[in-house]
């Protein structure tokens, strides 16, 4: 067949053409700015497109704002005022794309990475970075499989879901006790992926320790079209508390369904509730009223965090946890660079491992990394009251007292 010749000719052409295009692509990226001291390149890998695009974009926002702030304040002074330079990457929520970005940014000279929102992407990307011994800061990523794998280059400032569950349970136990222990049973609704399943299992295991029985775990898919049936089952089981661990849309839909069906509960308590944020509380004040969430939150008593909140809101964005977590991680990195006095990877990792960085924006204890996990990281417990989000625990950061049990529907 005459076709064959052209087919084979194409293959050679495609390789050469491909290699040509590739080198063009590599040469064109990224734009390098001249500076007195050599810039420190920070690779930012977040899912800015796809299902969780909003979260990825918020992470990127926080990180880029922080980099700007560091540069405005004079850069890394111990390195002669070297500026930080952001390398922007989109993981597209895919593991292989995240890894590809790591490789690409490594070529571009990244001295550190910050990412990745989704734990599977984070797991693979940190592993890829480990090959080059490049420090990788996990700004958002709940799975405890991210740390404690024996990778020296991974650092997670925020607490993992194990810690969030522990603290959430403790807080719930205290709140329940303080009200005379009206709550004895709970139903846990969770998304069926890694984050939801992991959190739910941990919760179910720990609830008995505060005298609450986990009646049932209800997993659901992402996305879920309707929570009517879950609401039906909850109504028939009549638990005292409904606990949730899922992403924003489902969190909101479930809350709205339960509210509209006037399901009587003593309270709704979520751990890492994906939808508990300002938008939810402002858009649906009635639905969100009295809901409690254990999550990453900023320290409301810190002036720096209030100032940053105003800035972010002035720019038209919401002050969600992705923003201040990635902001704080950039600051952590900048602090480590100062102490390491260089962007050399070994020195930087050592500086991070020994870091006692004060996370101004966050309600954390002193920073101490053990096996990559910051032991000082703490979640906060919040409650939506009168259209506002108040911190109800830990006490030293609290801005209001918890309302529990919630009043009945009348």
């Amino acid at each position: 067949m005459a076709r064959k010749q052209s087919r084979f000719g194409v293959s050679r052409r495609s390789f050469v053409g491909g290699a040509g295009a590739l080198s063009v692509g590599l040469a064109g990226f990224p734009a390098i700015l001249g500076a007195q001291a050599k810039a420190v390149k920070v690779g930012l890998i977040h899912p800015v497109t796809g299902f969780v695009a909003y979260n990825g974009q918020q992470s990127r926002l926080g990180a880029t704002m922080a980099i700007e702030d560091v540069n405005k304040a004079g850069g890394v002074k111990s390195m002669g005022g070297a500026k930080l330079e952001a390398l922007l990457g989109d993981s597209q929520s895919k593991v292989e794309v995240g890894v590809s970005e790591v490789e690409k940014m490594n070529e571009a000279g990244a001295s550190a990475f910050i990412g990745c929102f989704q734990s599977p992407v984070g797991i693979a990307a940190t592993q890829a970075a480990a090959k080059y011994n490049t420090p990788f800061l996990i700004d958002v990523g709940a799975s405890d499989q991210l740390v404690r794998r024996g990778l020296k280059n991974v650092f997670r400032l925020k607490p993992g879901f194990g810690k969030c569950v522990d603290d959430g349970i403790a807080a719930l136990g205290a709140i329940n006790k303080g009200a005379g222990s009206p709550a004895k049973s709970a139903v846990i609704v969770h998304e069926s992926g890694e984050f939801g399943t992991g959190t739910a299992k941990l919760l179910a295991g720990k609830l008995p320790s505060i005298g609450i029985e986990a009646k049932e775990l209800i997993p659901h898919d992402n996305p879920t079209r309707s929570f009517d049936n879950i609401a039906l089952r909850i109504r028939s089981m009549a638990p005292d508390i409904v606990m949730m661990s899922n992403y924003g849309n489902e969190y909101m839909l479930l809350a709205r369904t339960l509210f509209q069906q006037k399901v009587e509960l003593k309270g709704m308590f979520s751990v890492l509730g994906g939808g508990f944020n300002y938008k939810f509380v402002k858009d649906m004040p009635d639905v969100s009223q009295f809901m409690m969430d254990t999550n990453h939150w900023f320290n409301p008593r810190s002036e720096a965090s209030q100032a940053l909140k105003k800035r972010v809101e002035a720019g038209g964005a919401l002050f969600t946890f992705e923003v201040y977590l990635s902001y704080t991680n950039v600051m952590l990195l900048a602090d480590a660079l100062e102490r390491a006095q260089s962007a050399d990877k070994e020195k930087l990792i050592a500086a991070l491992a020994a870091s006692t960085f004060k996370a101004e924006l966050m309600p954390y204890g002193p920073t101490k990394f053990v096996d990559g996990q910051n032991e000082g990281g703490l979640p906060a417990v919040m409650q939506s009251l009168k259209g506002e989000i108040e911190v109800i625990s830990p006490e030293q950061f609290a801005s209001a007292k918890a309302v529990f049990p919630r009043p009945k529907f009348t």
Binding site: K4, S6, R7, L26, P30, S100, E103, N106, P120, I123
Partner: protein, 326 residues
């Protein structure tokens, strides 16, 4: 094969073999793991696409759920390795065989019922969904938690520190895929498949056991695809139901073949090369366009438009274009 064609082939293969030495290892040019990684992705997607092409292009059985084989292979080898201590190299043939088995089962069920065309395509989609939901629900796969393969980067563990080896592995698989496709153009089996593709009823009238051939080709296709699943799991060391059975992979396999030219030997390779390069360049675009707060989606918009344009003006895929030029 004509001598000229063989020379082109050999030249292409030589370039491919030498490629990492340009970019990796004891390198002449600066080491670029990124370039190797992209090349890995291109060859790997070409191989997976070829597995789709065997059934969809050559035999005319378009499937939308090919990821079912990929995920099967990935999970079988991973579960054997992580939960039962098997060496992944030994688990690999088992994974390949299970892909073939799943292909045969789906084939028997679907073709017994006489499903063709869009009906067949949609049922494969449904099978992939079933597998995804099952994977999310049974303890063996750890459901939504996924399975983490412990990083122990030694070759005997089917893990490589240097991505160059994964590249070579993908190259080998890709070449095997090309060889299988080439074999189809030469063999009686392939001829029978072509007859089935052109006109199934006529093929039956010619005495071809259409049912048997279709089941066979789906089994072959499934086995190939499953082989890729294991490789993916061993490279990225993490597997969960949406990675293993998500619909995006099915679409990618279908896309590379159709864009490159379904039913041709090099179609999937060409399609994969083009799509990946377009993807890399457009993703870069998203970071470089100034003044736009959120330029990333623009990159994907461009990608989608390019897809439409390629389909609009090159209905036989890219090989069609080159056929016309010659």
């Amino acid at each position: 094969m004509s001598r000229r064609a063989m020379l082109w082939c050999a030249a292409g293969l030589l370039v491919a073999i030498l490629y990492p030495l340009l970019f990796g290892g004891p390198s002449l040019i600066a080491r670029s793991n990124y370039a190797i990684n992209v090349a890995f992705l291109i060859l790997f997607a070409a191989f997976l696409g070829q597995s789709w092409n065997i059934a969809g292009g050559y035999a005319g059985q378009t499937s939308f759920g090919h990821v079912v084989f990929f995920g099967t292979g990935a999970y079988v080898s991973t579960i054997l390795h992580v939960s039962h201590g098997w060496n992944p190299w030994l688990a690999w043939p088992v994974a390949i065989a299970s892909g073939g088995l799943v292909g045969a089962i789906i084939g028997v069920l679907s073709f017994r019922a006489g499903l063709r065309g869009s009906y067949f395509a949609l049922i494969t989609l449904a099978f992939a969904e079933v597998f995804r939901i099952v994977a999310n629900s049974i303890p063996q796969t750890r459901g939504g938690l996924g399975i983490l393969i412990k990083a122990d980067q030694r070759p005997e563990n089917f893990q490589f520190r240097d991505p160059m080896w994964f590249y070579y592995l993908a190259l080998v698989l890709c070449v095997i895929g090309l060889a299988i496709a080439w074999w189809l153009t030469r063999s009686r089996f392939g001829a029978r498949l072509a007859a089935i593709r052109e006109n199934e009823d006529a093929a039956m009238a010619l005495g071809i056991d259409v049912f048997r051939e279709k089941v066979r080709v789906l089994a072959l296709s499934g086995a190939m695809c499953a082989a890729g699943g294991t490789v993916y799991a061993q490279k990225y060391l993490y597997l969960d139901p949406s990675i293993a059975f998500g619909v995006e992979k099915s679409v990618e396999m279908l896309l590379v073949s159709m864009i490159g030219g379904a039913g041709t030997i090099f179609g999937p390779l060409i399609g994969s090369g083009v799509l990946h390069l377009v993807g890399e360049i457009t993703r870069d675009l998203g970071n470089v366009v100034p003044g736009i707060k959120n330029a990333q989606p623009l990159a994907l918009i461009v990608y989608g438009l390019i897809l439409v344009v390629i389909v609009a003006y090159l209905p036989d895929g890219l090989t069609g274009l080159l056929r016309r030029r010659r």
